[in-house]
């Protein structure tokens, strides 16, 4: 007796599980049972599991009977003529979707040639094992699996052409590549997915060599000439937003150029781009701190708004200004209403970005790297045919990562560029490398893809032959311009008087616990004190009671709130954080008494 589980709940028992399972499958193929159901016979426990729930990962396979796939040439012809659809194949039971359980009962052939009478299914294409981005990696079957994953992941971060209506969209944090290209070495998925309509990279010439050490540790060297011709250029869009909010008591925000007597008024210079309606005009070149939308809000506390005060003078400044470290050109101004009917202003800032040192680029094989140097075109090494590479990639990135596909793509790209055609690099189903090599030989190049190179500065011939060719390179959205950060002076936190944290708040870089230990270990005591001086304060202390006293700057005297002004009061130099903890002790009812002593 075998137990039968429907969606993991015991449904009953059967005597002939194998037969039942077979019958179930037959009926499903005939369309008598929903194609969404799966059945699985566990040969260890002899249990039968029927699954109909949502959320199972399933994949389509061609059904095989007696070593022959049910889909024949006839079907393929019909498909081509549009006389048949995918849905028809499914309904006729030629293709079925399997879940993880049912797959255990099946014997799936990888390609048609491998079929034996024992096989139950055939892959539609070996490519169907991979996800979308993974199948966009050319020659993926030549890569180590981790690199394939890395390559797939990197493509998602590529700067490309994400939507044709970008000019009327207000998306946050958008990058747009200026001259996107279709890859020379492509896979089947590029066609299926219409990749040419939203390409995300450019075909460039890559030389695998070192260049003065500026491409070590995964860095790449860029050719200034290529940048000038538009390689890797992109635009960064970022919208800012302001709403005229309504508050209790009929008060509203007002979008206008703020009056000078408004609380928190910046400076006239900051508002210089605003037009009469309080909004910036398009194509204005703005820098950090410039106001984009002028706005004032009613006073924060209504109680303070009594009959004697003048309403306008108590209004607060709440304009939207460009954030710290940002720059750009006003691209688009949108005036509309939000769901509650409040006036809504959106201003999009555009910032053109030419690649610079620190920007991140990658091939499609997880070979990401950061620009280490931009070399003038005339100083770049050149090949005997006069080609200068756009990127110089370090050979040290290859052996440990074993990205053979990176090398094959380079070769394929070279053949494609020279013969003027696209190279099929579909994983498991690509143009063989041997054929590419032969074609390269016929095109008048060395079969192994090597070329003689000359030093761009001295003109000397290089001793080594350089492996060079064309590759599809992607610019990734991580650009230094968004990450660069430093601080000398800047904002502090209200509570602790220590510097703020994070780039957005123009914060400091924390000298942490372990960093502190290194200073101590070096005995650099005074340097350590200086590092921690960020919240240094001078505090008067009453010698009598040991508590913090008051220093009155106006009358130039100090006094202790407890002991009066007849006691001796001395100033001490401590961190504000320590003053804070003393206050916290006091709030707990602990009396932290300071006993001062001359240090010398």
């Amino acid at each position: 007796m075998s137990e039968v589980y429907l969606n993991n709940k015991l449904a009953g028992e059967v005597d002939n599980p194998q037969e039942i399972v077979e019958q179930f499958r037959e009926q499903r193929r005939k369309g008598e049972i929903s194609p969404n159901a799966n059945i699985f016979f566990n040969e260890l426990t002899k249990d039968v599991y029927v699954e109909t729930q949502k959320g199972r990962a399933r994949r389509p396979l061609i059904v095989v009977k007696d070593g022959r796939p049910l889909i024949t040439e006839e079907h393929l012809k019909k498909l081509e003529k549009d006389e048949m659809q995918w849905q028809d194949l499914l309904q006729e039971g030629l293709i079925e979707y399997l879940d993880a359980g049912e797959e255990e009962n099946c014997y799936v052939a990888f390609i048609e040639d491998q079929l034996t009478p024992d096989h139950t299914h055939l892959e539609i294409s070996p490519l169907s094992m991979l996800g979308l981005t993974a199948s966009l990696v050319p020659y993926g079957n030549f890569n180590q699996s981790t690199r394939l994953n890395a390559g797939a992941k990197n493509q998602k971060q590529a700067v490309g052409f994400y939507a044709a209506n970008f000019s009327v969209r207000m998306d946050m944090d958008v990058n747009l590549l200026h001259y996107p290209q279709k890859p020379i070495v492509q896979t089947m998925m590029h066609d299926i997915w219409n990749f040419d309509q939203h390409a995300a990279g450019q075909n460039i010439v890559v030389a695998i060599m070192s260049y003065k050490g500026y491409n070590m540790e995964d860095a790449i060297v860029l050719n200034r000439g290529s940048l000038d011709r538009g390689f890797g250029r992109s635009t960064y869009y970022r919208p800012s937003l302001a709403e005229e909010l309504r508050y209790a008591g009929g008060l509203v925000d007002e979008i206008s150029i703020p009056d000078k007597d408004v609380k928190g008024y910046k400076s006239e210079k900051d508002y210089r781009f605003l037009e009469g309606d309080g909004i910036i005009y398009p194509e204005a070149v703005v820098r950090e701190g410039d106001v984009i939308i002028g706005k004032t809000s009613p006073p924060r506390f209504l109680s303070s708004l009594d009959e004697y005060s003048i309403a306008s003078s108590t209004r607060r400044e709440s304009s939207v200004a460009l954030r710290h470290g940002e720059k750009g050109i006003i691209d688009f101004v949108l005036i509309t209403e939000n769901e509650e009917g409040n006036r809504l202003i959106q201003v999009r800032v555009r910032d053109p970005r030419t690649p610079e040192i620190g920007d991140k680029f990658t091939s499609r094989h997880g070979q990401k790297g950061v620009v280490g140097l931009i070399v003038p075109a005339e100083d770049m090494p050149f090949s005997s045919s006069g080609i200068t590479p756009d990127i110089i990639f370090s050979p040290h990135g290859i052996p440990s990562r074993m990205t053979i596909a990176h090398l094959i793509e380079l070769l394929g790209g070279k053949v494609g560029a020279l013969s003027g055609r696209y190279i099929n690099g579909t994983t498991f189903d690509a143009e063989p490398e041997d054929a590419l090599r032969k074609e390269l030989l016929n095109l008048g190049f060395k079969e192994n893809g090597m070329e003689t190179f000359y030093n761009g500065e001295t003109g000397e011939r290089m001793v080594a032959q350089i492996y060079a060719g064309n590759m599809y390179y992607l610019k990734l959205k991580h650009m230094v311009a968004n990450k660069l950060h430093s601080r000398a002076r800047g904002p502090i936190q209200l509570l602790t008087r220590q510097p703020t944290e994070g780039r957005a708040k123009e914060g400091g870089l924390r000298l942490g616990e372990m960093e502190k230990d290194t200073f101590i270990a070096h005995g650099a005591s005074l340097l350590l004190k200086e590092r921690f001086d960020s919240d240094r304060t001078i505090v008067p202390v009453c010698e009598e009671c040991g508590l913090i006293a008051v220093s009155d700057e106006f009358r130039n005297r100090s006094y202790c709130p407890l002991c009066g002004d007849t006691v001796e009061i001395n100033n001490i130099d401590i961190s504000y954080a320590f003053k804070l903890i003393l206050d916290e002790f006091k709030s707990l009812g602990i009396y932290p008494k300071l006993q001062l002593e001359s240090k010398y």
Binding site: D517, A521, G523, K529, S575
Partner: protein, 376 residues
């Protein structure tokens, strides 16, 4: 020649002197020898830590940095050795925390001649191993109707550990006062003398019986005779140094346990200090890391200076710190501040952490020297 060595006796440590004597040829001339000794003294003075050098911190970093690499490797090495002993980072944490209960206590028992040559090695090993009543019983049956316990003995097992039923019964009788014991060839039946015995009682007795010690050394759960080099020895799981050292076939000068607390109790705190050093250094070497032994010696010294082993925890050496602020800055601050407030503790701000908190120069390195003359 000997005089010259004597002259430098106070300037160089004995170990260095001995090494010099070993390596220098006897024919070395008086002046050459003096040159060598002077150079050695110079080098020795040079390698001493300077006053104000923050040696504790340097030790912590020197052990801590390689320690980060250790975590990853730990799993690969576990279970490879002949017996499952905690190694790697977990073991170091165990020692430095000063934990009394080890996850895998173990001993290495060296033997005297002729046993170290392999004589009776299996017998000796077996004699050391602890046999509990549970080990020789097949099953314990509680008869609910007449409230008796029937124990079925495993004759084969008894024979292999060298026990006869009468000794078993005798050992048992001490634990089972108030019961009538009837024994035959492979069954023991216990019945209570008093009438008011209930099932609960009976069950407790049964559980107690399982743990009755019959033979061997208490705590030695497993034994493994091995040959190390050309010498036979016994490795155990479970440890009882005191009892093992009493056995006359044991070489008491070399036998060790990995339980440092036991060593402290049996051999004293100095031995425990050495044991800590050996254990920690052993793990570090085992991982292929390179840490100078002096760093570990410093840690071991810190743990042992109070004559009891104190772990590097808030209950151990950290609680010994004189500064309230320093203690409060390391785990459970509220406890320390409340206690300090209750007794009116004074913090003299003499150490590093407190001075960082109030942002004053720390009294190490360049922060240490001060003016001797009073400025008035």
């Amino acid at each position: 020649m000997g005089d010259l060595y004597k002259e430098y006796m106070d300037k160089l440590p004995a170990r260095v002197m001995q090494e010099l004597k070993e390596y220098l040829p006897g024919s070395v001339s008086q002046s050459k020898l003096r040159q060598v000794l002077d150079k050695t003294v110079e080098e020795y003075e040079e390698s001493k830590a300077a006053p104000g050098e923050c040696i504790g911190n340097v030790s912590a970093e020197s052990i801590g940095e390689p320690g980060t690499q250790m975590t990853l490797n730990t799993f690969h090495f576990a279970g490879v050795a002949e017996m499952n002993v905690t190694v790697g980072l977990p073991r170091i944490i165990e020692i430095l925390d000063g934990r009394k209960e080890l996850s895998t206590p173990s001993m290495e028992i060296y033997l005297n001649k002729p046993y170290s040559q392999g004589k009776d090695i299996k017998k000796l090993a077996l004699s050391v191993k602890e046999t509990l009543f549970n080990d020789i019983a097949v099953e314990f049956l509680i008869n609910i109707v007449d409230l008796s316990i029937t124990i079925v003995l495993d004759r084969g097992q008894m024979k292999s550990v060298g026990l006869i039923p009468s000794t078993v019964v005798n050992a048992m009788k001490k634990q089972t006062k108030g019961y009538i014991v009837k024994a035959d060839s492979n069954e023991i039946i216990l019945k209570s003398r008093s009438k008011d015995v209930n099932l609960n009682n009976l069950y407790n007795t049964k559980e107690k019986l399982k743990k009755v010690h019959l033979k061997g050394i208490k705590g030695v759960k497993q034994v493994l005779p091995v040959k190390r080099g050309d010498e036979f020895m016994i490795i155990t799981a479970g440890s009882n140094l005191k009892e093992i050292l009493r056995l006359d076939f044991v070489d008491s000068s070399r036998t060790v346990t990995n339980n440092v607390f036991e060593i402290a109790n049996v051999l004293g705190i100095e031995a425990a200090r050495q044991a800590i050093i050996n254990e920690v250094f052993g793990v570090i070497e085992n991982q292929g890391l390179n840490v100078d032994i002096r760093h570990i010696m410093l840690v071991a010294d810190t743990m042992c200076t109070t004559s009891v082993i104190k772990g590097i925890t808030r209950y151990g050496v950290v609680s010994e710190k004189s500064s309230v602020l320093a203690r409060a800055s390391f785990e459970t601050p509220i406890k320390h501040i409340i206690n300090a407030a209750l007794v009116g503790e004074i913090d003299f701000l003499e150490s590093v952490v407190e001075n960082i908190m109030i942002n004053q120069p720390v009294p190490v390195g360049t922060g240490l020297p001060t003016l001797v003359t009073k400025v008035k």
